[in-house]
């Protein structure tokens, strides 16, 4: 137990004497330097342990032998030690990071650094206002000086701007201090209360607060800070962005009790403004450090806003600590990590960061930092956001809520874009410098702490069920065994999926079972196709398992939180999987942007949710609560994004097409169903209430539009995977409409469609993967005539398209029959018409696909290709068997569905043997099958009998205008197949939604461009901004 004042004493002593020590060699001075920094960390860690674990009460340290109002006192409590622990740790680690620099540069740099850290400690601990000013100046001056640790023109001018801006800010702070003293007669925070101030005396508080607030770099008075971030040595910037900000935000926290409510509101608003605008401007930024600067500024805005807002509302200590603390740690660690990494990479344009690929471990650490900074689970920022949304919704602060979510989205956008550049941009020959251990060590330590805090929150704060950890366990586990051969890993993955399903899934007749089959069993089967890979590279199976477990966990999630984190896990994994595709840079960013936007809608929706009993999966308990309409709408939007409904569909073609070929089946057949699952979840609650607004009626229309638009879009694709992607959009439209019917037959139809779509899409995509694997192209017109070479794949696709199109006797017809019956029964006649149209259009694209690939004339270059590899064929066969089985015996599936849906609706169909009778019509799948077989067999036999003399000729043996055509290439009619159709109806497929989103993105971009004009680079303008900002805030507050 060391008195924390020793931190200050020892740092000062060492600081004063360092230059003397240095006479004895740099080794000695460095030893002293690092020992003191380490000592600080240990002292604070010890205290933190006492406060946090042992529950020791807050420590007050008087100086000069007098107690508080007379002398300056320091205070160390739980919060102080928490902040200081991180600050000192970051200080130590950054010092280690900079060791090379410190070995070379003047001794002054060590002194400055040491005293900077001392200043932070003092600033956080002191309770005296003027003493704060002194420590603030210590902090500032040492920071100013350290900005030129690497001296160049840029860092010098940035440092100068920093100084004058900091000078102005501290001048106002000082003015504030003196007026607070004047009005309250005290300088010690313990003895000042907000009651001391008359109305006009509040200006003292205002000056105090604004001085500190300016130091937090609020938009737009923060140009100087950004210049500093851009130009200063990374190790130092890490300190500025992280440690300094932490200290300053803590000062702000300390003076919070003085601020009247009006201030709190305005400052909250300003914090949020900073958050959204800094992130907005960030999207135009290409310099990594300046980009991080925008992000830092934004995060500080968010942190400040959360502090102000929770104080204003008087939110319980735990929650506000979780929010502010979460944002704090998240920003603190992630930002330090990123700045350190930026210092190692040394590229001044995020587009050149592909060199990082030469150093995979560092790339992974980089990715982790980005994920953390984006506020994704399990990292602390996520939990903060989760609680924050609840608080904001609870207090009806909708503007703030939407601003924060938009800001988060923008931030995630530029971070993920950066990651995309890093992983996908062309890698030039240049190699990275050898990374010093001293540089990588701090990064590793912080990443470990990041994970530790994340898990700590997961286990101790939320005590989540153990299976929620599985996605993370999966990715870690797979990472650990990444040295194994990929076939082995594939088998391990299958085993893992099987075990997961076996242990976690209830086998009762419920919706859970159905989706369990799709997500778990389906995944297990589809993984088989990946065995074909020779080398998967690192992470592939980890991502895959993470996604699968994430999807699986959705079904058994026991709370909204669990649901949402798994939703995010799944999304992250999906993003990483997509990103593995060769040309997936753009599609991946589009995917993650849309997905996160959707996720934020869901998050906002959960904010509105009432509490739910914590017994069993939410799918079973959600019926007991009434979901507010707003939550319903928000969440449905989120779910629709995932299932690529009309309006949010523009991510699918790219994401599906550019993902690796054997990954696409996961997306189409399983991943997209998560949206459906979500909608069902909401619908279960919806049907139990008497809604005043028939939301699902409009959802039905949206489904219908998706179906028809998807079909049209698919028709005009040349790229087979894009075609199937749009087909998925269309098919999901069917599912959405049948779920939104909210009737017994509708739901049977919806679930039946879901299952069906899962099977045929999986097998078609796997078959296509095989074809692409062999031919090396996705352009259908570059293929042709492959039926001769790949007959099995042809059969799969054939069965698949029959099933999709709903032609009897295969299972697709059952789904169509159910769909139309339920639509007409419900009275959605026009929608039924739309679906007839859509299903007719689906013939166009399906035929186009099968014809262009398998029929017609073969290309020369495909003369020697073989059938798909066996690993692709196995899952296809399994799915074919599945489809045939439920086609032959539809009761295998209708009967259970009848039971499942019977839990929610009164049964409206009669099942008698194989005969299914609805109120409108009837259908006997079994008999249809037999009749079809009969009518097929009879002509076939006749033809075989009559036509015994048939001679089979080569594919190209055709006559065309009385002559043999030139070459098979020119004879294969595949390119632009439906040009006439395009003439007639192509207008409907004009990419209006695409252009809408283009406008949105361009608009955002130009808005960002507009706003960043304020950062003129002129130091004087920046001071002007500060003055104007202060004046503006003053008048907004109306002091």
């Amino acid at each position: 137990m060391v008195n924390p004042i020793y931190i200050i004493i020892l740092s000062l002593l060492a600081g004063f004497l360092l230059s003397i020590f240095d006479k004895g060699g740099r080794k000695l001075s460095l030893t002293v330097f690092y020992s003191v920094l380490t000592f600080n960390v240990f002292v604070i860690a010890d205290w933190f342990y006492r406060f946090a674990i042992l529950g020791v009460s807050t420590l007050t340290i008087n100086t000069a032998g007098f107690s508080a109002p007379l002398s300056i006192n320091l205070q160390l409590g739980m919060l102080e030690s928490f902040v200081l622990l991180f600050a000192n740790l970051a200080g130590l680690l950054s010092a280690i990071y900079l060791i090379k620099k410190f070995k070379e540069s003047k001794i002054s740099s060590l002194i400055l650094y040491l005293i900077l850290i001392m200043g932070v400690n003092g600033l956080v601990m002191t309770r005296d206002l003027f003493n704060m000013f002194v420590f603030l100046e210590i902090l500032s001056i040492s920071t100013f000086a350290l900005t030129i640790l690497t001296k160049n023109k840029k860092s010098l001018s940035a440092g100068f701007k920093y100084m004058i801006a900091g000078g102005v800010a501290s001048t106002f702070f000082l003015l504030g201090v003196i007026f607070v003293y004047y009005f309250s007669g005290n300088l010690n925070l313990e003895f000042i209360s907000s009651n001391d101030f008359t109305n006009y005396g509040l200006i003292g508080v205002f000056l105090l607060a604004i001085g500190i607030f300016i130091e937090l770099k609020p938009f737009p008075a923060n140009g100087w800070a950004l210049d500093v971030y851009e130009s200063v040595n990374s190790g130092i910037v890490a300190i500025i962005a992280v440690v300094n900000s932490a200290a300053i935000i803590f000062v702000l926290y300390k003076i919070l009790p003085l601020l009247p409510t009006v201030y709190l509101s305005v400052f909250t608003g300003m914090g949020i403004v900073t958050y959204i605008f800094s992130n907005l401007v960030g999207i135009r930024q290409s310099n990594p450090k300046r980009l991080l600067g925008y992000s830092s500024v934004a995060q500080m805005g968010l942190l400040a806003a959360s502090l102000f807002y929770t104080t204003k509302l008087g939110v319980s200590q735990n929650i506000s600590f979780l929010i502010a603390g979460g944002i704090f740690i998240n920003h603190f660690i992630a930002k330090a990590l990123l700045f350190w990494i930026a210092g190692i990479v040394k590229k001044n344009n995020i587009k050149d960061w592909s060199v990082l690929r030469n150093n995979i471990p560092l790339l992974i650490l980089f990715g982790i930092s980005l994920l953390a900074l984006s506020g994704l689970p399990p990292f602390p920022g996520f939990w903060a956001k989760w609680e924050m949304v609840k608080v904001f919704v609870g207090s009806k602060y909708y503007i703030g809520l939407s601003a924060i979510l938009v800001g988060s989205l923008l931030e995630a956008f530029y971070l993920f874009r950066w990651f995309g550049y890093t992983t996908k941009n062309k890698l030039n020959k240049e190699t990275m410098e050898q990374v010093q251990f001293s540089q990588i060590f701090p990064i590793i330590v912080f990443v470990l702490i990041l994970f530790f805090t994340s898990f700590w929150i997961m286990t101790n704060v939320y005590s989540l069920n153990y299976f929620n950890y599985l996605p993370l366990v999966a990715i870690f586990g797979m990472f650990l065994i990444s040295f194994l051969r990929s076939k082995v890993k594939a088998i391990i993955s299958i085993a893992a999926v099987v075990l997961y399903g076996y242990f976690l899934f209830p086998l009762g007749m419920s919706i859970q079972l159905l989706f369990g089959i799709i997500f778990i069993i389906g995944s297990g089967i589809v993984i088989i196709s990946t065995i074909n890979r020779k080398n998967t590279g690192k992470g592939f199976y980890g991502f895959l398992l993470m996604m699968i477990f994430g999807m699986g966990n959705l079904i058994i999630a026991e709370s909204f939180l669990a649901f949402f984190i798994n939703w995010e896990f799944m999304t992250i994994a999906a993003y990483l999987l997509i990103l593995r595709g060769k040309r997936a840079k753009i599609p991946a960013i589009v995917f993650i942007t849309f997905s996160l936007a959707g996720a934020y809608f869901i998050l906002a929706g959960f904010g509105y949710m009432p509490n739910i009993a914590n017994n069993g999966a939410i799918i079973n308990t959600i019926g007991t609560i009434k979901i507010p309409l707003m939550a319903m709408i928000l969440m449905i939007i989120g779910f629709l994004v995932k299932s690529a409904s009309f309006g949010a569909h523009i991510w699918i073609p790219g994401a599906y097409a550019e993902a690796e070929d054997d990954v696409t089946p996961f997306f189409s057949s399983m991943f997209s169903k998560t949206g459906i699952f979500g909608i069902i979840l909401l619908a279960i609650s919806f049907i139990k209430q008497t809604p005043d607004f028939d939301l699902f009626y409009w959802l039905g229309w949206l489904g219908a539009i998706s179906a028809i638009v998807g079909a049209f879009l698919a028709t005009f694709q040349e790229d087979v995977k894009k075609l199937m992607a749009y087909s998925s959009m269309s098919q999901l439209g069917y599912i959405i409409v049948s779920i939104s019917l909210l009737s017994h037959l509708g739901w049977i139809s919806g679930l039946y469609l879901t299952l069906n779509h899962f099977m045929f899409k999986a097998m078609i995509f796997i078959a296509i993967a095989g074809v692409i694997y062999r031919t090396g192209t996705r352009q259908m017109y570059k293929m042709g005539g492959l039926i001769k070479k790949m007959p099995l794949s042809f059969i799969t696709v054939l069965i698949g398209i029959i099933a999709i199109s709903g032609v009897p006797p295969l299972s697709g017809f059952g789904s169509k029959w159910l769909l139309y019956n339920s639509l007409i029964e419900k009275g959605w006649f026009l929608q039924a018409g739309v679906f007839f149209f859509a299903s007719a259009v689906s013939f166009l694209y399906l035929y186009r696909m099968i014809h262009s690939i398998f029929l017609g004339q073969m290309k020369y270059e495909h003369q020697n290709i073989k059938e798909s590899p066996i690993w692709y064929l196995i899952p296809q066969v399994i799915f074919i068997i599945g489809i045939m089985a439920i086609s032959m015996y539809p009761n295998l599936i209708i009967q259970p569905l009848n039971t499942i849906v019977g839990n929610y609706f009164n049964s409206s169909i009669v099942i008698d043997g194989y005969n299914v009778t609805s109120s409108l019509g009837y259908w006997n799948g079994n008999m249809v099958m037999y009749v079809t077989m009969g009518v097929f067999a009879v002509p076939l036999i006749l033809l075989l009998l009559i036509n015994g003399r048939t001679q089979t000729v080569k594919q190209f043996n055709i006559v065309y205008a009385a002559e043999r055509p030139e070459s098979p290439q020119t004879t294969h009619f595949a390119h632009n197949m439906f040009s006439h159709y395009y003439k007639a109806l192509g207008g409907l497929t004009k990419p209006r939604i695409q252009s809408f989103w283009n406008y949105v993105s361009e608009g955002t971009n130009s808005l960002a461009g507009l706003f960043r004009q304020i950062y003129s680079g002129n130091g004087q303008t920046y001071i002007l901004h500060i003055i104007l900002y202060i004046v503006a805030i003053y008048f907004i507050m109306g002091v």
């Binding site: 009969g934 009518v935 036509n947 006439h980």
Partner: protein, 303 residues
């Protein structure tokens, strides 16, 4: 035992329908010829054609799917026909309508088309996919008014069961859908024009001396199978329309008369109008007939 009788009846029904359908085809050709001022082939010419093509010495196949194409097509025709109850109250002509309702019939039509498209596709001749592309796209458009019309009927009779629909139209001409729901009938009749692929919607086959649409590579027995199916399929469609819109038939004679008249309607329209280009026909179907269909639904559902 039951099923054997059923099959036996079905065979009778099929033969009758095929012969009838082929004869109709012959008659139509005669009418066309007369309208053009020619003498024209004899009425039994389709039968002769089938026999002749069967008898071809050379039979060329391009592969399995090519081989199965006509089989699919004919199976489609057979199936479609078999799922329709032809004559109300007749055991022989009730076929396998117990297997499914109107929706089954509508979707089974696709069965043959899809198979044929596949077979023709394997033929490797560029004209086949061109024809198919046209055919499919034309189909998507004429299906719309037809589907709307069917929905209107389903609303009207509150069933999709063909037999029930026919039963509801018994007892006088005024009970026919034609009079109870004229808009739906108009929409459906227009789409029938497309379905029959007669002029002006005959771009799919583009009949010259020989058809140069999908069946271009088809020869000998393959072509014969297709020709046979043409007769049967035509009959099936006509019967379906008769059942849905014109009160069905209680005996064979009424069926023949009604279907003949329905057929003549499309023939006369075809003789009077020149051929549309594909996009023209699509626009056509998606304009007025569709609107009529929608109006029919709205009318029947909400008034």
């Amino acid at each position: 035992m039951d099923i054997m009788i059923k099959i036996f009846y079905a065979i009778i029904s099929i033969i009758v329908a095929t012969v009838y359908g082929l004869t109709l085809g012959g008659i139509v050709r005669k009418i066309y010829a007369r309208a053009h001022g020619r003498f024209g082939p004899p009425v039994w010419q389709p039968f002769l054609d089938i026999i002749k093509t069967h008898g071809k010495r050379v039979s060329i196949s391009h592969g399995i799917m090519f081989y199965l194409g006509p089989v699919f097509r004919f199976a489609g025709g057979l199936g479609t026909y078999l799922f329709i109850p032809v004559i109300f109250g007749s055991a022989i002509f009730s076929n396998f309508s117990i297997a499914g309702d109107l929706l089954l019939v509508m979707y089974f039509i696709f069965f043959g088309q899809l198979g044929m498209a596949l077979g023709a596709g394997e033929g490797g001749h560029p004209y086949s996919p061109i024809g198919i592309a046209r055919g499919l796209s034309q189909m998507t458009s004429f299906e719309v008014p037809f589907a709307l019309s069917v929905i209107a009927i389903a609303i009207q009779y509150n069933t999709l069961n063909i037999t029930t629909i026919v039963a509801a139209q018994q007892g006088g001409i005024t009970n026919w859908t034609l009079f109870t729901n004229p808009l739906a009938v108009i929409a459906a009749m227009i789409s029938l024009l497309g379905m029959n692929m007669h002029s002006p919607f005959s771009i799919v086959l583009a009949p010259q001396e020989i058809p140069i649409g999908p069946p271009i590579e088809m020869n000998s027995s393959f072509l014969a199978t297709l020709q046979t199916n043409r007769g049967l399929f035509a009959a099936a469609k006509l019967v379906l329309f008769m059942n849905l819109y014109f009160g069905g038939a209680t005996n064979l004679l009424i069926m023949v008369i009604k279907t003949f008249l329905i057929y003549m309607f499309s023939v006369f329209v075809g003789a009077a109008f020149p051929r549309f280009r594909p996009e023209q026909s699509m626009r056509f179907f998606l304009k007025w007939p569709t609107i009529i269909g929608i109006v029919a639904i709205i009318f029947i559902a909400y008034f």
